[in-house]
Amino acid sequence: MNLLSKALITLLLISLTSVSYATPEQDKETFQSFYTERFPDISKAEFGDGVYALDQDARDQWEAMNDFPPYEDDLEEGETLFNTPFTNGKSYASCFENDGENIRQHYPKFDSKRNMVVTLELAINECRTNNDEEPLPYKKGDIAKISAYMASTSEGSEINIATPTSKGELAAYEAGKQYFYSKRGQLNFSCANCHIQNVGRKARSETLSPALGHPTHFPVYRMKWESFGTLQRRFDSCNKQVRAEPLPGQSEAYRNLEYFMTYMSNGLPVNGPASRK
């Protein structure tokens, strides 16, 4: 082999490894600076407002609506549910650090014993089953209300997902990352196609929000749903838009996706629950 081809192969190997073996930290830097460079007038924290960070007219309407948030009753109900003891006398607070207050920013978490990602909603249901209660259905209803209440106690705390480093963490992270960037559905779109490459542009009548800040404000009260929905309920909506079949709540792929997306938003303040169209 001559020198030139050796050099070429080395170059090729370097370029290959630099693509597929970027560390999560490097990924996060690239991901966040994509948006901050694209929208230099928007502060990082503001990305948690989704389209309302990009579209002033929509923002004005949204802010007017938020004088009387449409989710107030559901949020209160979430607080009541959270504080209602189980049949055995224990409560949700007994399952979480800091009695479940101000912990939203640490979820999803990687549980190394079970080698899996644990979202806040999964932890809520595990709290129930550990206390001999039936698990709640995922994505909407009481679980979203409880999760919304818990998120509200984290208002302003910065998302702080531990950087994936172990083999298990990296595998879950990479799976979530691949899900996010893979085209799917009959329309052959990836999450990234809409929320990165076409961010700020219109899809039909809707402005496409940045993926930076997506997990900060969930559960979201959507006018279309007339109720709270978790982040995974929103995954369903977006999957259906591209004619992909949604996955069950808390399926491995959804949990890994949530893990990846939330890590990408590390450092942004929790600002949920929030309302959306």
């Binding site: 693509v19 994509f34 799917r184 009959q186 992909a244 079949e245």
Partner: protein, 101 residues
């Protein structure tokens, strides 16, 4: 004369049932093939939500003995499942081209 006509009708009818029977089996086979391919898209993590209704409609057509429609719809489902599998295979590496730079 009458007897001849009658036996002709009987023979004709016999062939019709035969033809019908094969179409029913064909339709069932075609649906089975669609379901197998559809299952593969699920394991590949690239299920399209357009496949389920096609298979359901094909099954309904089979039940109401509309075998031609059952075959047409299940073929459509199979084609879509094959495209979803191509997508899954392609995205095994292509997703890397979608990363932000």
């Amino acid at each position: 004369m009458k007897l001849k006509a009658l036996s002709l009708i009987i023979i004709f009818g016999f062939f019709c049932t035969l033809a019908n029977a094969t179409t029913a089996t064909d339709a069932a086979k075609s649906i089975q093939l669609a379901e197998d391919l559809w299952d593969k898209t699920k394991s590949a993590g690239h299920e399209w939500n357009t496949i389920k209704p096609l298979v359901a409609q094909a099954k309904q057509a089979l039940e109401s003995k509309d075998f031609a429609t059952a075959i047409e719809l299940s073929n459509k489902a199979s084609q879509q499942a094959e495209l979803a599998l191509i997508q899954a295979e392609h995205e095994k590496t292509n997703w890397l081209n979608n990363l932000p730079k």
